[in-house]
């Protein structure tokens, strides 16, 4: 079973040289810590920076330089700043190559719910709806089950949707799965996790073909 950093580490293996990447809040943010040495990627944050760098050194924080999670950041050499319309032109115009975001629920046809729990939590969708409606390459980073132990990979989402039929891949603490026309296709299992464990934790349709390899992380 992976922890949050393990999930981020596995997702980092999906990065390719030259990618522009948008990382959501939470586990996705951690992906930046595991970029393979042999490739160059650039991070876009939808509040208006391309070429986002690590957190600043203490004492060098700048209130005018934050990421979409409102955290203080730095700008790398070659970075640029832009307004919100330009930022979402990059996103909707599919100039961003990969989007990683968290989810509360994903359905077997690739619907995603991650912005609202009616009556309980209504924070808003931020840029998530624009991102999921536009990107071709959307990876969801999440725990396989919720705190009550219930599967987050469902036949159909119960929560209000963020987008329909958009998730391509899921990296959870238990497995890597691809969203296909016929359901969740199991690609890899996490170390110490059996195919049976994944089956038990997946409520949506699970496709298992041949031997399932263990994640290499």
């Amino acid at each position: 079973m992976l922890d949050k950093n393990g999930i981020a580490k596995r997702i980092a293996k999906e990065l390719q040289d030259g990618y522009f990447v948008n990382l959501g809040i939470g586990i996705p943010t951690l992906v930046a810590n595991y970029i393979p040495d042999n490739i160059e990627v650039e991070f876009q944050s939808e509040n208006g920076i391309l070429g986002m760098g690590p957190f600043p050194f203490e004492g060098e924080e700048d209130a005018d330089l934050i990421n979409a999670g409102k955290q203080t950041i730095t700008a790398l050499n070659g970075a640029s700043f832009f307004d919100s319309a330009t930022s979402f032109a990059m996103i909707r115009g599919q100039h961003v190559d990969m989007t990683v975001l968290g989810a509360m629920e994903v359905s077997e046809n690739g619907d995603i719910a991650n912005w609202k729990i009616p009556g309980k939590m209504v924070k808003g969708m931020g840029g998530a709806m624009d991102l999921v409606a536009s990107a071709d390459n959307i990876i969801v980073a999440m725990m396989h089950t919720n705190r009550a132990g219930e599967s987050k990979l469902l036949p159909k989402c119960g929560l209000p949707l963020t987008g329909v039929g958009c998730v391509k891949k899921i990296v959870s603490n238990m497995a890597v799965l691809e969203v296909t026309e016929n359901g969740f296709k199991l690609l890899e299992v996490a170390p110490g996790v059996s195919v049976e464990d994944v089956k038990n934790a997946t409520a949506g349709k699970l496709i298992i073909e041949g031997d399932i390899p263990e994640m290499d992380i």
């Binding site: 208006g48 005018d64 979409a68 307004d83």
Partner: protein, 233 residues
């Protein structure tokens, strides 16, 4: 040159009336019109509709106008950092329209650019799309979204000149340029106001035509929401 410089925030908000629709720039607390918000609180205008990506925090930014119950309706994309906001929303005291961030930006831009409506894929198949026209382009469904209309836009820039030209700094630019374009009356507050001619026209982000009033803010708190740092090793 058309006179745009006003003495301060109190003069800048002249003409604000109960029930008006305002746009306020900023993302989180980054690049918000701090001084204009304070003046609006002092002014006391109520039943305001505020278009702003966020609603500030409990004791800063638009949170200050929530405290005084001056806001009737918020149009935002994310309101997570404000407990009072959540309370007022869940109790029904505050009307809230949550819309995707990119759609929010584009509805501002369209407003200032003479585009009455546009189609976007964002929100299709979700509750955001309810009641909206859907059209398929290149095999993909899109929903019709309309340009905003705002009586006033309040923006904040790093530097500005007497002609209303603005330059923003870092990620404090965010929604400010589009909102400046969209406001019937755009009020810009800047950290540094300089005479016309001192800004290099090559570096201007928002041309002065979009700004009707400008002033230098007396002071800027520029509060940081999430102070994240790394240690030197």
């Amino acid at each position: 040159m058309i006179k745009k410089v006003v003495n301060g925030p109190d003069e800048a908000i002249k003409g604000i009336k109960d029930g008006m629709t305002l746009m306020l720039g900023g993302f989180g607390l980054c690049g918000i019109p701090e001084n204009s918000i304070l003046a609006l609180r002092k002014n006391g205008a109520k039943d305001l509709t505020c278009i702003s990506n966020n609603a500030g925090v409990d004791d800063f930014g638009l949170g200050l106008l929530l405290q005084t119950r001056q806001i009737k309706k918020m149009i935002s994309s994310y309101v997570g950092e404000n407990d009072l906001f959540e309370k007022l929303m869940l109790s029904g005291e505050l009307e809230v329209d949550l819309i995707p961030q990119g759609t929010l930006a584009e509805r501002c831009r369209a407003s200032g650019a003479g585009i009455p409506a546009f189609f976007t894929p964002a929100g299709y198949g979700t509750e955001v799309a309810e009641g909206k026209e859907v059209r398929v382009f290149n095999g993909k469904p899109h929903i019709l979204e309309h340009a905003f209309e705002a009586d006033f836009a309040f923006v904040k820039a790093w530097k500005g000149d007497e002609a209303g030209n603005l330059i923003f700094k870092g990620t404090a630019r965010n929604f400010n340029p589009m909102m400046a374009m969209a406001g019937k009356n755009t009020v810009a507050e800047v950290e540094e106001l300089v005479p016309a001619g001192e800004l290099d026209p090559n570096t201007v982000h928002t041309p002065g035509i979009f700004v009707q009033r400008i002033y230098q803010g007396e002071q800027y708190e520029k509060r940081i929401e999430q102070r994240t740092v790394r240690t030197r090793n």
